[in-house]
């Protein structure tokens, strides 16, 4: 089925990928009839019930929705972290389901960056080691990896703290290390699962700014599952999920006008 946009006319519908303003942009992620159900103790839970979505290169997309709406599941499908029950995910027109485990590892290592709510840094590695781990997996030689790692830590403003372990850093700093790590191979896509969920307002704001900067300066496509209303200021498009279906897709400009109303609708 198709999640027909309920937004007013002119909304970037999921089935209408052409963005008038960005003729050069390609579709980088396309999902077709994406379904996922979990079987737990004999009870089938349908987390996604047919999601069709297209995301363009360089877009900053926020996926919103109440908890249990399937945000994280969608995010995992798109990131090649989990396999759909049915339907397909194309990343740059490559069907993820067709990839072998070794190719998936390559994809996850170089083409997609992940940022988690729990940061998920490796606790026994220093900030620098955390950042260079994906490079080690990619077979980069240690000197190059170290230089690039320091550079990335500089980008997120933690160059001086490269030798600190995760427990010696604040949440915001850990998240910044995680962002530096996700950028290790300059991925085309950055998937963020509630990146500000564990952070206070101020640090959350810093992280969001950092993400926005990566988006505008480096052209990284950012897909962000979030509850954070501040995301509205930064994203290009918003996608609402409800009960495993796309409820609505809207451009930011449209949402800003009717923000109160939407909140009334969705709450």
């Amino acid at each position: 089925m198709t999640a027909t946009p309920t937004a007013p006319a002119g909304t970037q519908g999921s089935t209408a990928p052409t963005a008038p303003a960005d003729g050069a942009r390609r579709v980088i992620i396309r999902t077709v009839g994406l379904r996922k159900s979990y079987l737990k103790k004999g009870v089938v839970t349908e987390a996604l019930r047919g999601v069709d979505m297209e995301i363009l290169t360089g877009e900053f997309i926020a996926i919103m929705g109440p908890s249990g709406s399937g945000k994280t599941t969608f995010f995992n499908m798109v990131g090649g972290l989990d396999s759909p029950t049915s339907g397909r995910v194309f990343i740059d027109e490559v069907d993820v389901a067709q990839l072998t485990a070794v190719e998936l590892a390559f994809l996850r290592c170089r083409k997609i960056g992940y940022i988690f709510q729990q940061f998920n840094l490796i606790p026994y590695m220093t900030a620098l080691e955390n950042v260079t781990t994906p490079m080690a997996f990619a077979g980069t030689d240690p000197d190059t990896a170290r230089n690039r790692g320091m550079e990335l830590l500089g980008t997120v403003g933690l160059r001086e703290r490269w030798f600190h372990r995760p427990i010696e850093m604040s949440g915001g700093q850990q998240q910044r290390v995680a962002i530096a790590r996700s950028m290790a191979h300059l991925p085309a896509i950055l998937l963020c699962d509630e990146p500000t969920g564990n952070l206070d307002l101020k640090t959350g704001r810093e992280i969001l700014d950092l993400l926005k900067r990566l988006n505008t300066e480096r052209g990284v496509t950012i897909i962000c599952a979030t509850h954070d209303p501040r995301m509205l200021d930064l994203c290009d498009r918003l996608m609402w999920l409800r009960d495993g279906q796309v409820e609505r897709v809207a451009r930011r400009e449209e949402v800003r006008i009717t923000i109160g109303k939407i909140n009334n609708e969705t709450e």
């Binding site: 485990a101 590892a105 990619a138 372990r165």
Partner: protein, 469 residues
């Protein structure tokens, strides 16, 4: 900024050196937890090593004790044989019951001055005679009386030489339902006919046997090689001297004197006390004086000789105790006895369970870490290698510590059981092998126990792994 199109290629493997680095880093970070795992493995391995130490010690001590006491047992056997009354039955049983390689056969042949063929005949006849004698001994009084009247031993065969007596025996045998004669009756008749010949052969042997003891001594135990004969003769002398001393303890005068000397009650003068007294040559001199005063035979005992005997006897007693303690060791799956083999197997099982548990815990609590590594592009194989390597390292550390600990405990206990004998019989090679086995068991079990959960974790999709936590 235009991005390159995504091209997908196979991900390279993580280098081994880098994997080791990550593993060591991880162990260093989780030092306490890793130490606990190592301790668990060490305790399990120590348990096994303890049992293995016991097994190898028992085995080694048993071999030594059997060796050391073999001479004594041989001497005791000859002494018993020489002191037995030389009845015809005794000689028949000795020859008929001996196995083909028994030195007694050789001795008997030489004693009786018999040709090989004649002796073989005697041996066969003796075997039959022993079977018949067993039959008559085993028959009830009434049945026996019916068959052979009041004849006993080899006299039975002499009695049955007369045709009337043989007929009476045949009739009686037919009537005694329960009796199973060892050979068919006609055959027995034929055998009886040859009996006088056998009897004369045996008589010749018996005559020679009159001076058997002296003859054997004079012949220097011809069945043995010179070295063994020396050993047996020496042991026989020692046994005699020891018996002399111990018998003197039963003589009232000597007993009283010793009791007064030691300031104990006469009833408390035991053989052990006596021997402890004799350990000092001056006390031994005093004791020999008492023997002379009581007109007790002292053989060729002198003070030095008595002290030496005391030490010797202590050593022999210890070896004899060790031999008895290890008598049930041997055979079984590993040559350490069935009971011990079971203990080893059970301890291996305990070791396996302990290590599996430790490794399972260590892997399952790190599902999130595994999932993160997968998100960063780690291959399933790299993750498994990481965990198996870690398991091997922990297993190696635990195995080494455990085998050391187990050896200390095991040999400590064995020192308590066998005392100084352990020094003479320390099974160094077997111990090294056991250590190697224990370390190997630690490493292999840890690796095996680590493989399965890490295989599960590595195969899971990253998000599922995170959800499990």
């Amino acid at each position: 900024m235009a991005l390159k199109p995504i091209d997908v290629r196979p991900q390279p493997r993580l280098g081994f050196a880098r994997t080791v680095e990550i593993v060591l880093n991880g162990i260093r970070y989780r030092l306490f937890r890793s130490a606990v795992t190592v301790v668990v493995i060490a305790v399990a391995v120590a348990f096994m090593m303890n049992v293995l130490c016991e097994a190898v010690t028992y085995r080694s001590v048993r071999r030594l004790a059997t060796e050391r006491t073999a001479g004594q047992r041989l001497a005791a056997r000859w002494a018993g044989r020489l002191s037995a009354a030389p009845t015809p039955e005794a000689v028949l049983r000795e020859i008929g019951g001996a196995s083909a390689s028994d030195p007694i056969l050789d001795e008997c042949r030489r004693m009786g001055n018999l040709a090989d063929s004649a002796f073989d005949e005697l041996r066969r006849a003796a075997a039959d005679a022993v079977a018949c004698l067993d039959f008559f001994d085993g028959a009830g009084y009434a049945a026996r009386r019916m068959m052979v009247k009041d004849a006993e031993g080899t006299v039975v065969f002499d009695r049955l030489q007369s045709a009337a007596a043989f007929d009476a025996f045949t009739d009686a045998l037919a009537r005694v339902q329960s009796a199973r004669f060892p050979m068919p009756v006609p055959e027995f008749g034929a055998w009886l006919a040859s009996w006088p010949g056998v009897g004369s052969l045996e008589d010749a042997l018996l005559d020679a046997r009159g001076g058997f003891g002296d003859a054997v001594r004079a012949a220097g135990f011809v069945a043995f090689d010179a070295a063994t004969a020396d050993v047996v003769a020496r042991q026989a002398r020692e046994a005699r001297d020891i018996r002399l001393v111990e018998e003197s303890g039963q003589v009232t005068d000597i007993r009283k004197a010793v009791a007064a000397y030691l300031n104990v009650l006469p009833g408390d003068v035991t053989a052990d006390r006596l021997w402890r007294l004799l350990e000092s040559p001056s006390d031994a001199g005093w004791f020999l004086g008492k023997l002379k005063a009581a007109a007790h035979p002292a053989g060729d005992l002198g003070p030095g000789r008595a002290a030496e005997l005391a030490r010797l006897r202590a050593g022999q007693a210890a070896w004899e105790v060790a031999r008895r303690a290890t008598a049930d060791v041997g055979g079984g799956r590993f040559g350490v006895g069935t009971r011990m083999a079971w203990l080893v197997l059970v301890s291996l099982g305990v070791c396996a369970v302990g290590i599996s548990n430790a490794m399972l815990m260590s892997v399952t609590e790190r599902f999130r870490e595994i999932a993160t590594l997968k998100c960063l592009g780690a291959l399933d194989g790299s993750i498994m290698l990481m965990f198996v390597l870690e398991a091997c390292l922990l297993g190696l550390a635990g195995g080494l510590a455990g085998s050391l600990l187990g050896s200390l405990i095991g040999f400590g206990r064995m020192l308590g059981v066998f005392g100084g004998l352990l020094a003479a019989g320390f099974p160094f090679t077997a111990w090294l092998v056991a250590c190697g086995l224990a370390v190997l068991a630690g490493v292999v079990l840890a690796a095996l126990a680590g493989v399965y959960p890490s295989y599960l974790a590595a195969r899971l999709a990253p998000m599922e792994a995170m959800r499990i936590e």
